[in-house]
Amino acid sequence: MKKERQKSTLRIALLAGSNLDLLEKPLTARLLEKEFAATIWNPGFNQYRQAILDPSSGLYQEKADAIVLYLDAADLFAGCLANPYDHSMAEIPAIVEAARADVASLVGIIAAQLASATVFLNTLSYADLSGTYQGLEYNSGFSFRQIVVSYNASLRELARGSSNVVVVDVEALVMETGIERWYDPRLWYLGRIPLSAQAHGQLASEYANFIAARWGSVRKCIVLDLDNTLWGGVIGEDGMTGIQLGHEGIGLAFVDFQRELLNLEQKGILLAICSKNNPEDAYEVIRKHPAMVLREEHFAAVEINWTDKAENIREIARRLNIGVDSLVFIDDSPVERQRVREAVPEVAVPEWPQDPCESRRALGRVACEYFLKFDISEDDRRRGEMYHAQAERERLAESAGNLEDFFRSLRMKITICRADHETLPRVTELTLKTNQFNLTTRRYTESELAAISADEGCRVYWLKLEDRFGPNGIVGVLILRRESREQWLIDTFLLSCRVIGRTVEEALLGYAMREMKELGATVLTGEYIPTGKNGMVANLYGKLGFAQTDSNEKRTLWTLDLNQKSIEVPVWFEIADRERISAQ
């Protein structure tokens, strides 16, 4: 069953020093599994340089979105490979720098013509180099490995230095697969195809994961079973001392698995529990078992009861305010997995190893497939904590007499600023990932947003929210475009789901309104583009006092006459950092 997620077609350019034709089919297939339709432009064997240098090449004609520039050691260091003993260690930095500069300049040429495209570079593996060097490496003044190692290290700077480069660690894939299975010399000599059939499959999955993640398709939460998943045995039968968890034998496999989950939690992935158990038994382990790595505060939502798991999973999504298609469900029981697959097909349910020794590795594969990230923001580090605080807010809301009392009691403090170099990554992440409170669902890459925020006729605002339970981080984005001196258009207006229902939208728009007036604006136009997920904001502009001016299936348009009506920041917000804002 297919999800109703709409995505436009991605144009991919496949540029390589060797023949990568066999990658086309598996790559489009893997992307389609992730609901990305893709077309591939491939100029063929060793045409990458011409394709990049020729301004009329298909690369630019097709306006590629993603460019896979796949080069291996034989493409970049052919001379050194042909005459391995002709260079000394002292010459290696210059040899590597020449290759790095060459690749950087090719990337620069692409970026100059395709500002919003992403170039995927790869690490080299040492593996395709001859065994005849064995013994010399590390023991003599000769080294080829040093070339590969320094080149790979230089890619890090390239990726960190420009927002349109992403590095795919192909060397790690080669290590995982093994040299003998990665390369197929028969295909090389018969068709100049260096890689084996298996390697093409793995490479396709890896690039599909990276491309999908770059275009915002990343899940948000792992829902975990307890018995025989987080620990060995059944707590209701085996008891605290009977379950396997700790440094003895197999117990260590569960500790290691939990450690890996904790790493994901610190990367900003939410953890939740969905278990059929007596809550008191399970909580006793979570709170008191000395070997538990994960504790109550690491779980954003917990459902421990005897209800059907599919129902509990829907409840978890509802409480976290995320779609069920943001969840991955891990359970050792094939019956439960099947039940969830059938009842909630949007949830990703990976096969799970029977043997707990394999769990940690299986989780690594899940992380690559669903939770790939290219950076960790401050927000990511605190996400779990923030969701935990959300539960306390909900308890407060239940006890407050009326809504206004509740808003006041939250003691909300907002900061609104224009996006800059530091905040662009988070702003980008929000435009890519926000589905529900998102008026237009325009997805922007970081380089596109950098261009928009540098444009005089545009304003990119972000909003940060703090309340009595702690910080929420950057949770709102508003992008305005000047249509004419008097008229501005709301290009993007979104809020993270964790702050919905707290009048934050009024604060953000009200604040921007002040600046608009100072700039001489008199009319503000708002647009609502329905996506199937953002129904909650269909009438937002109407509620805020805009008048509807146009409506069809694809969008509705609204305008607000700033001379007649204005939107104010609600009185229960404290506005922080005034100086910094007015200084901008």
Binding site: R186, G191, A197
Partner: protein, 75 residues
């Protein structure tokens, strides 16, 4: 004919399974180009768990030749 072979020829070369015969060859099948040939070989190898030698790969350019090579490998 070997069913795995027929399925591979049919799916890689875009021919209906009924139309695949011992006479089907690279010569009389336009979609059977050199890349499709390698693809076909890899598909058969993977599905039967066998591995051809490079000198055989270039020779096996008809269904009849493939059928014989597969049975020689005991599959």
């Amino acid at each position: 004919m070997n069913k795995v072979l027929v399925d591979a020829v049919s799916s890689i070369l875009n021919i209906r399974p009924e139309a695949v015969t011992l006479e089907t060859s690279q010569e009389n099948t336009p979609s059977w180009d050199s890349l499709a040939h390698l693809r076909l070989i890899l598909e058969i190898e993977q599905n039967l768990g066998i591995r051809f030698q490079s000198r055989d790969i270039t020779r096996l350019n008809s269904v009849a030749a493939l059928e014989e090579a597969i049975s020689n490998l005991g599959r």
